[in-house]
Symmetry: C2
């Protein structure tokens, strides 16, 4: 553990114990450095970590203060997973959720859609229209396999904010983060090989494991602190795992951000067992804490991290523009990119590059982060009042997803069926598991929040309550 991490832990304990009260000013950086005999930057580092965790907040020119902490519902506990590699099933449930047309008469709380109606996104629409009118017709032409140079340049610039030094040539543009993950898996693992994943986990990654004939080793993951490094180490000792695939920053579906210390420890584990890390950072830029947490890729000294991301959650998913920085697997990744789709659609790339170059990206992110954080709290309020008391819920550090755990035996697949008749969709927990676990869990999207959505969420809660009562009435035994 680093010095600053020890200091952060010390401060966290004091805040949680009530030694420092809400809205109280914390010691100045200088005072703390003297008291603990550490450097100023160590203190700053520790304070940044606590800021990321939303325990404290900086006020310009006056220092750090303890954040008001909402009364929180209990978080879900760590789930137990199979302690061996498994085949992935659940496609029928994933299919159900992805073969849906955008439908304004429906409240789709199930899908990973950002809010695309923000005014800060308008310049992107203008850029798209402009690109279509370009006389050189480059937008209609095959792009180079790597992706447009002007876009890779912007992606490399943005990476600096994630603690990463990337050259544009380190990056391959992809058809969304989905293709990036798909490329990464095929680049590092043969059919029959084993990939370790956080659990619950993004269903797209799980289904890729299935499609390529691989197996998933699901690692128990804490909704607050993230993937269990102890369980991961055990798995790495016992099985010939080829790669660790996870979403360590603003995790989908749990919402946690792995601390920098744990990210480093995970990287060290990967080095020790010589496995690759497939780091999905698709929600990373939506971290409520600012500056955003660093990526595992930022520690990568031997090219074993394949960083995967996209503009789907930050700008618009319909563009299908993502990227991969595949480190030492660059050549294999490029081959997999080639055989998967050839090059990526050209016009969208050009428009996004313009949007970023003209300075619209950062203001847009700032707005969306604030909106999503606010909506999180609003939706949590509704959940607290409408769901049965047995419900547990995550407290995301970024993004726009909440993870709910209902009482054992509540079937969220059946819940979803029932809600669909009323024009509401949720994401049932089973899709986040290789083998249909998390059936009593569900994920809700809080990208957009208004009175109608509040009503829809209430309706979900009441439906869960009804199901609970019906179960009690029927005297059904609890199923695992």
């Amino acid at each position: 553990m680093h010095r600053y991490e020890r200091l952060a832990d010390h401060l966290r304990e004091r805040i949680q114990a009530g030694f420092y009260q809400v809205h109280e000013r914390l010691p100045s950086v200088r005072a703390l450095a003297q008291a603990h005999g550490v450097s100023l930057s160590t203190v700053q580092h520790a304070y940044h970590q606590l800021e990321d965790a939303q325990l404290i907040e900086a006020r310009p020119k006056s220092g750090y203060f303890v954040s008001p902490r909402r009364e929180r519902l209990p978080a879900p506990p760590v789930a137990r997973t199979a302690q061996r590699p498994v085949e992935v099933s659940q496609w029928e449930h994933v299919r159900e959720g992805t073969c849906v047309l955008p439908d304004t008469s429906m409240h789709n709380l199930g899908r990973g859609m950002p809010d695309i109606d923000a005014p800060t996104l308008k310049p992107l629409l203008r850029a798209l229209a402009r690109v279509s009118r370009r006389q050189d017709l480059i937008g209609l032409n095959y792009d180079t396999l790597h992706g447009r140079p002007e876009l890779r340049e912007q992606i490399a610039r943005l990476a600096v904010g994630q603690g990463c030094r990337l050259h544009p040539d380190d990056i391959v543009v992809t058809t969304g983060c989905h293709e990036a993950i798909s490329i990464a898996m095929r680049a590092v693992c043969e059919p029959g090989g084993i990939i370790a994943v956080d659990s619950p986990s993004f269903y797209g990654a799980l289904q890729s494991i299935r499609a390529y004939g691989m197996k998933a080793m699901e690692i128990p993951t804490d909704p607050e602190t993230g993937i269990s490094l102890e369980a991961l180490e055990l798995a790495l000792e016992q099985w010939p795992i080829r790669a660790i695939q996870l979403t360590p920053t603003c995790n989908n579906p749990l919402g946690y951000t792995l601390s920098e210390a744990r990210k480093r420890a995970l990287y060290a584990l990967a080095q020790r067992f010589d496995v690759a890390i497939i780091e999905d950072d698709v929600y990373g830029d939506l971290s409520y804490g600012f500056p955003r947490p660093v990526t595992i890729k930022s520690f990568d000294e031997d090219g074993r991290v394949l960083l995967c991301s996209s503009f789907s959650k930050t700008l618009a998913p319909g563009l299908r523009i993502g990227w991969i920085a595949p480190g030492r697997y660059h050549e294999r990744a490029l081959h997999m990119k080639y055989v998967g789709t050839g090059s990526t659609a050209t016009q969208g790339q050009m428009a996004v590059a313009e949007f970023i170059r003209e300075g619209h990206h950062e203001p847009h992110l700032r707005r969306m982060r604030a909106q999503y954080q606010g909506n999180r709290d609003r939706m949590l309020d509704v959940i607290e009042s409408a769901f049965p008391a047995s419900t547990r819920v995550s407290y995301p550090a970024g993004g726009f997803m909440l993870w709910l755990e209902c009482a054992d035996g509540i079937d969220s697949v059946a819940l979803n069926q029932r809600l669909m008749a009323e024009g509401i969709r949720i994401a049932p927990g089973v899709v986040f598991s290789a083998t249909g676990k998390y059936r009593h869990c569900l994920r809700l999207n809080h990208a957009v929040f208004d009175a109608e959505i509040a009503r829809a969420v209430s309706r979900v809660g009441h439906c869960v309550a009804e199901m609970l009562t019906q179960r009690a009435d029927a005297g059904q035994p609890e199923t695992a």
Copy 2:
């Protein structure tokens, strides 16, 4: 063999033997029917086949006439291929050709780029700009996994012209034909499995075979009549082949169109050996004969044909919009689509659907077919005058590619290197082979033809001649 095929063969022989002379009027449909004791539609069918083969042409209200037949350079002979399944190599050469940026200072005769500067394509640019301005923002949203309904509807309508009855729900939109082929292979074949391919063959399909750990069984293919059904049958008898992948209409790189009789025979073979057919129809709509030849898919009675295509060659490759009609493999194909890229970029789909719905597609195709056919002949003239007499060249029935076979020992990879210094690129033959055959062959793009391109093609020819002289001077022995 069908009756009309026997009749067509009979007429072909007579034309080729000079019994019917160039510009001579052929017997009327009625007269021929009476003479041969067949129905009117049998004669019509036979005449259509000869039209497809560009041997005769219809003149409105006056009947069928023998086409003027240009003095043709000799076609390349059928190449010998390895008579066993092989692993695919050659990625470094494919990579070289696809990691290239569009560059107006370069004459890229190597890539499969259509002419995107035609006036008939302008409505597409307008549609793209219009879609960007749509208030409902559907273009920014995740599309359903299958692709936009309005686009699938148009694709199903167009399929009628290929003899196919498809329902929009039979179609899955993809990120180009490349993704369609990639999906098809993974849907029908496991890693380690064998796929039979025409040879020479589209390099993207070959590289997919490599990437998915499969093996290629290359089937000798005649530049005029297409894949050898005899060799294919032998291969099917000897090896556990899972699928036949080929481009039977306006083949890339050879330019032939498999006759309808051979398409039927191939389908029957697939049935007999119970293998799937992956039919790449990406150039099919650019057949110079009109109406365009039917697809193998049009005979498909048990869903074993996976039809793959795109708008890359007919409209614009930068859109990356293709489709697959995977028949009985629909569910597996949908899963492979999901894990490869999730859904396809939305805006381009909407714009293409509008372009077709508004009636711009057919006039555009008509124009492009005429342009490409004219350019073929112009480029053939240049080739005839500039290349050594030992050169053989294909006589495409559609599309915009010419296949040249130089004297044995001419190294087209070295040729390409040399030409690049002068701002010219070609596609070296090796990329069309699993194992680096066709090194003395090359492919040239004739989508656009003007004085500058003529000069570039001349330059290629002179370069080949120089290499030939240098070889003779050096007294190098011929290499295989």
